[in-house]
């Protein structure tokens, strides 16, 4: 259970303090226009930046209380981009940050359809492949490749994990994240630009605007046409998807 207790930043990039919880089994989508503070919020949730007000806690203990190595077993982060100085083989890269065995690495690679790339150098990967490799690494860090892994309420934070993926990969990744949340009791927070992915797969959505969280709730509640049109300054239409009734955002004709 990751809890924000009136936590935020006063200095730039600022983030108005708010309180909320991110529980096991939940896939949370963080959406908002460019520069709204989504990545800033993620660095707050991960403990990379300490809040200037309030506190961020994992299991009711402040993130700064945790020993870095202990925390790393419970919380992993996937950054927007993979920046490497040297050409790591994919299977070694995936094992960075954990003492994962080759079998665990293989399991995690299989989860993300990356098995054929295991021996490739990471610098030769395409953007989408690199993105999935970084996600595999984070899963490995949380011990999810282990055959006997027990759900311990870990937290997975992802910054635009679908930005370089094709539409099929986007779908498969979001489905995987939702399954991980539900079956492995993971708390997943995911910054997304694609509102439809958020609407279709997330349990809950946070909408950010200029450093404030202005809405939180079910996708159907948050993704209302009037709010979206105002926040994104775009001409949108929100329809209802046949089947699950989730919102479907389309460009206004």
């Amino acid at each position: 259970m990751l809890s924000l207790i009136d936590a935020g930043f006063t200095r730039a990039p600022s983030l108005a303090p708010f309180s909320d919880r991110l529980g096991p089994g939940e896939l949370l989508a963080i959406v908002g226009p460019n520069g709204a503070g989504k990545s800033t919020l993620l660095s707050l949730l991960s403990g990379y930046r300490r809040p200037e007000r309030g506190n961020v806690c994992l299991d009711d203990k402040s993130l700064s209380w945790w020993a870095p190595a202990e925390l790393a077993r419970r919380r992993a982060l996937v950054a927007q981009k993979l920046t490497l100085g040297f050409d790591w083989p994919v299977h070694e890269l995936v094992a960075l940050g954990s003492e994962a065995s080759p079998e665990e690495v293989e399991t995690v690679l299989a989860m993300l359809d990356l098995e054929p790339l295991a021996e490739r150098g990471a610098l030769s990967l395409s953007g989408g492949e690199a993105q999935r490799v970084m996600i595999a690494r984070a899963l490995c860090q949380l011990g999810l490749g282990h055959a006997a892994s027990v759900p311990v309420g870990s937290v997975l934070l992802l910054d635009e994990p679908t930005s370089a993926l094709d539409i099929g990969q986007q779908q498969r990744l979001m489905r995987l994240l939702r399954q991980l949340a539900e079956r492995q009791r993971l708390a997943v927070a995911c910054v997304l630009h694609d509102l439809n992915l958020a609407a279709r797969y997330a349990h809950r959505v946070w909408l950010l605007e200029r450093g404030r969280r202005i809405a939180s709730g079910l996708p159907t509640e948050v993704l209302s046409p009037s709010v979206l049109a105002r926040v994104f300054d775009a001409e949108l239409e929100v329809r209802t998807r046949r089947g699950d009734g989730s919102p479907l955002v389309v460009l206004a004709p």
Partner: protein, 354 residues
């Protein structure tokens, strides 16, 4: 809904059909082979020189007092010093490259060595540091402080920029520091007394020729802990390759790691320069070549670089002693003469990213 990702639930695999094989050689075997090579080089180097020594002399059977003196007072401390300096230069090169996440980082290119050199020159000339009982140790301290100063400066510069820019800034800063240190060194030489000038030029060429036990002991006391410290940074350096944000998420205290590497490198390289002058290219070349062979993981690369550096400097120093015997070629000259062209050839051969 087309095909889905393979099952979320981890599954067991049949034992022995793992498709993921280690592409790198077994670490222990590589390190053992390198260590053996270092030992062999030590043995051969111990026997060759202007006074040849037989293996029996090394085992303690001294036919003449001269043989004993050559072995115990000249050759042994010198070999140890060569091994330590080589290990330190190459090890710190590997650590610096890991820290900057850039294969071009190296104590000489970044100006660390010349900063230490300038500090030593200042110490010798302005404070008449070569004289007195603390001369040698003052020289160590000056080297350390000089290297530390440059290290902190370069690092602050590097922190303020991102991506490709960093590399250019760092290389330009290194160039500026090298030029500045060279000029200041010239000024020092200009105002130095004859005795100081002799000291300066003796030390400045990059040579192990004045290795006595006093110097070697200093190296043992300073360089061994620096090496040990760097080795303990290996896992952190691996994590740092993910970028600072992700590395933090994976449990790395990046500021602490940086401080450790910077201090260990400054201590080690400062001592190396104070003891043996500026020996170029070792810190760049050894880790680079080994990385092509062993991959970028620091847990293997760091110790392998240290052994490789020791090996290379022992060989180079033996060549420096014997090629023009009884005269000596400064070993720094030799490493640069051999290392430069080899490095260029390496770059030409691999057109891909290094």
């Amino acid at each position: 809904m087309s095909r889905a990702f393979a099952s979320v639930l981890p599954r067991r695999r049949n034992a022995g059909v793992s498709k993921v094989r280690k592409a790198t050689p077994v670490p222990v075997r590589v390190l053992a082979a390198l260590a053996l090579a270092v030992l062999a080089a030590l043995l051969i180097a111990a026997m060759s020189g202007s006074v040849g020594l037989s293996p029996r002399v090394l085992l303690g059977e001294w036919p003449t007092p001269l043989a004993w003196q050559v072995w115990w007072q000249l050759r042994l401390p010198r070999l140890l010093l060569a091994a330590l300096v080589g290990a330190m230069l190459a090890g710190s090169g590997a650590a610096m490259q890991g820290l900057f996440r850039n294969p071009l980082a190296d104590p000489t290119l970044l100006g660390l060595a010349s900063g230490a050199g300038l500090a030593v020159a200042l110490w010798i000339v302005l404070f008449d540091g070569a004289a007195g009982a603390f001369g040698l140790y003052g020289q160590f301290l000056a080297g350390f402080l000089g290297a530390l100063g440059v290290c902190v400066m370069v690092f602050t510069l590097g922190e303020r920029q991102h991506g490709q820019e960093t590399l250019f800034t760092l290389l330009l800063a290194g160039l500026a520091i090298n030029t500045l240190a060279g000029a200041m060194g010239g000024v020092m030489a200009f105002i130095a007394s004859d005795e100081q000038l002799r000291q300066l030029s003796l030390w400045g060429m990059g040579s192990l020729s004045h290795a006595l036990w006093s110097a070697t002991l200093g190296a043992l006391i300073g360089i061994l802990p620096a090496l040990w410290w760097l080795l303990r940074c290996a896992r952190g350096l691996d994590l740092l390759q993910l970028g600072e944000l992700t590395a933090h998420g994976a449990g790395l205290d990046a500021p602490r790691l940086k401080r450790r590497v910077v201090v260990a490198t400054a201590l080690g390289v400062g001592l190396c320069v104070a003891l043996a002058g500026i020996i170029g290219f070792l810190g760049l070349l050894v880790p680079h070549c080994l990385r092509l062979w062993l991959g970028p993981g620091h847990r293997l690369l760091l110790p392998a670089s240290m052994l490789g550096g020791a090996l290379l400097l022992i060989v180079a120093d033996t060549l420096a002693r014997t090629l023009a015997s009884p005269a000596e070629i400064p070993v720094g000259l030799l490493t640069s003469l051999l290392g430069g062209p080899y490095f260029l050839w390496l770059l030409l051969k691999r057109r891909t990213r290094c």
